[in-house]
Amino acid sequence: DVKVTQSSRYLVKRTGEKVFLECVQDMDHENMFWYRQDPGLGLRLIYFSYDVKMKEKGDIPEGYSVSREKKERFSLILESASTNQTSMYLCASSRSGTGKEKLFFGSGTQLSVL
């Protein structure tokens, strides 16, 4: 089975801190994604990557950046955390980039920004 591992289950940070969320997948998938999940709003796409060192903005990229230096690892970076970035962050991967394949999700990181 595909395993998508997010490094932290819970994180508490202060406003203005730089925050790194790490994600690793073990199935050699081409594509990786970062979503945030908020009550009543479903999952919203922040950024995705279809290849090493490549990235594409999703629907809500403001305030975030990403890094993909290796195929298996995709990092989400909050340059200066703000309280409105308190959320559940979900990483996912898929085999190809057509959008017509299922995503495999990690368990999520619940980030609280105080």
């Binding site: 594509n31 479903g42 594409e56 979900l90 996912a92 980039g97 959008g99 299922k102 368990s107 999520g108």
Partner: protein, 120 residues
């Protein structure tokens, strides 16, 4: 069914009943649809998917129906069990408009979710 808004739709059923979760989508260009189940404290798990050239697809105890005429998707769960209690999300792939300079990579757009509660 799912729609834009802050109040999550809910469905309560008795164990053994059949459940039907509905999802409306707005983009006629969507060509792939998928259902996920998310239990408390876990990431979403794939249930079943369907391409736009199909009307129905069956899995184990689950059936997805696609009505392109009215842009409606439904998930039917047979003989619902307490372990089926979760939030269910539909998602659609909106094919990119490369002629308009869009990326050639499609992406899934998720609905807000429906809470299913199964009572023993």
């Amino acid at each position: 069914g799912e729609s834009v808004g802050l109040h999550l739709p809910t469905l309560s059923v008795q164990e053994g009943d059949n459940s039907i979760i509905n999802c409306a989508y707005s983009n006629s260009a969507s060509d792939y649809f998928i259902w996920y189940k998310q239990e408390s404290g876990k990431g979403p798990q794939f249930i079943i998917d369907i391409r736009s050239n199909m009307d129905k697809r069956q899995g184990q105890r689950v059936t997805v129906l696609l009505n392109k005429t009215v842009k409606h998707l439904s998930l039917q769960i047979a003989a619902t069990q307490p372990g089926d209690s979760a939030v269910y999300f539909c998602a659609e792939n909106i094919a990119p408009d490369t002629n308009a300079g869009g990326t050639s990579y499609g992406k899934l757009t998720f609905g807000q979710g429906t809470i299913l509660t199964v009572h023993p």
